[in-house]
Symmetry: C2
Subunit: 291 residues, 2 copies
């Protein structure tokens, strides 16, 4: 199956961001992609660089403008699209939500980001309530999609739960980048660790992993008091052994790659990790710490 | 702290294997290592290539000859040593067990391999009962050691449980290699995935990871009916961001590396993964599958 990923810049103007996403989706579809994935919160610049109540105005409902817009596009192109939305669920209740649009244009399902980060420049706990839909893959015409979002990608537990629920692949819309003030060696370690941890989910679970990041420098909304973020791109698709099938650079890029979902059976037969999990001894995984 | 790893060949003659281990330990200690780790089941060639009841003769008790021998060495050199033993616990009850010897020569603790593999050439389920000591680190004068064994290295759950119990580092004595009949690209994928999954445990938990493999081709005990195993070495030490601090090649090698355990605090502050685990939603990790 051909999978397309749209590594894009995001603009302070919603219409520009949407146009960039649509352009990428159309390119991917034209090259035969049956599933296309956008980066996290692609409709706007990454507003979580600061805590500002005005930014809640960026949120929208599900269904709403984005699901309608990209739903129409999915139907027109006869493809499945994964979009990412700043979801307004109720007054004072917002989520960071991925929505899967079926090729009929209908909503196949949604996933609300479960792990919410909060560190300097990524003040997400202010904007997003932690997801309450659990780690459940979304069934579509192109397979059972284990869609998660960004910070979730650091948690092997999340990937495993998706795999145990029968996911055919793991998908991470992402917005991650460098603090420009950090030295080069640390930047490299951060990028490497981000790639490595996600490849490891492919390996541990015998599933393809698709990670889609944005690119471009976005200045801090608070001006010179903030460093801004240099979003590092490097979106990639890994196969069931964690092998890189395709990887973008640090610029705008649309990638289409053939992913053989049938390899999961072969890879899991060769190294049958799921068989031997010591589930009799895993209950402490539900503890914060064991001390 | 300086950590030493002994990547060695193993012989069909126990005395040769022991001599090789001792030689490596002495070299590492001479270069200042305070902790030295041997590969899995280092006293013999990898007998699990076939199922043969005679091989149970290789097993020994704990305490027993190996703990006595390496205990004396630990005391003489004033270092902590991690050894790996085919443990005879009772008639018909054997384990694949790592033992940590304190610099006093005493046994600091043991870990019985929890995840037991079984696939062509690695018939471990025949020889070893699954461990019943859980995932509990071993306290020593050089830190709390998260010692596991080989196949455990593929399980993020195991690494996490050690981290949650306050392990200062994760340690994997290992015996893994290539089936010589496999093509080059597959060999590379296997090696890459082995390195990647272990680096990912460092990343997910903000802990150093030390993995020690054996080297050399060992023919199948059943002759030409078996392919034999080409043990791939590549023992390594990774830092808290999964960065490779040192890595061996495919030959006999002793490596000593400085590992800064204090970096764990810094790395975990920067990306505080432990803070955000969705422990309210992890109970299904104790299920075999969710379908």
């Amino acid at each position: 199956m051909k999978i397309g990923i749209v590594q894009q810049r995001c603009s302070t103007h919603r219409s520009e961001s949407i146009a960039s996403s649509e352009d990428g989706i159309r390119k991917a579809a034209a090259k035969g992609a049956k599933l296309v994935i956008l980066p996290e919160l692609h409709a706007s610049q990454y507003f979580c660089q600061t805590e500002n109540p005005d930014f809640f105005d960026l949120a929208e409902t599900i269904p709403g403008p984005s699901t309608e817009y990209f739903g129409k596009l999915a139907k027109e192109l006869k493809i499945v699209i994964v979009i990412s939305i700043f979801e307004r669920r109720a007054s004072g209740l917002y989520h960071n939500t991925a929505v899967v649009l079926e090729k009929t244009g209908k909503i196949a399902g949604k996933y609300r980001k479960m792990h919410i980060p909060d560190d300097p420049g990524y003040y997400e706990k202010y904007y997003f309530a932690p997801g309450d839909l659990g780690f459940n893959p979304i069934d579509t015409s192109v397979g059972r999609l284990g869609v998660m979002v960004c910070w979730d990608q650091w948690y092997p537990e999340a990937a495993r739960l998706m795999a145990l629920a029968g996911a055919d692949m793991l998908i991470y819309p992402t917005a991650i980048g460098w603090d420009p003030s950090v030295d080069k060696a640390e930047k490299q370690r951060q990028l490497d660790s981000w790639i490595t941890i996600q490849r490891s989910h492919a390996i541990a679970n015998g599933l393809p992993v698709i990670s889609v990041n944005r690119v471009g420098f976005e200045p801090s909304p608070v001006g010179k008091k903030g460093h801004g973020i240099d979003f590092w791109g490097n979106s990639f698709i890994a196969g069931q052994q964690g092998e890189i099938l395709a990887m973008a650079g640090t610029g705008k890029e649309v990638i289409i790659t053939d992913v053989d979902l049938g390899r999961t059976e072969k890879v899991r037969r060769n190294w049958p990790f799921l068989r031997d999990r010591r589930i009799d001894c895993f209950s402490d995984l539900s503890r914060r710490f064991r001390k």
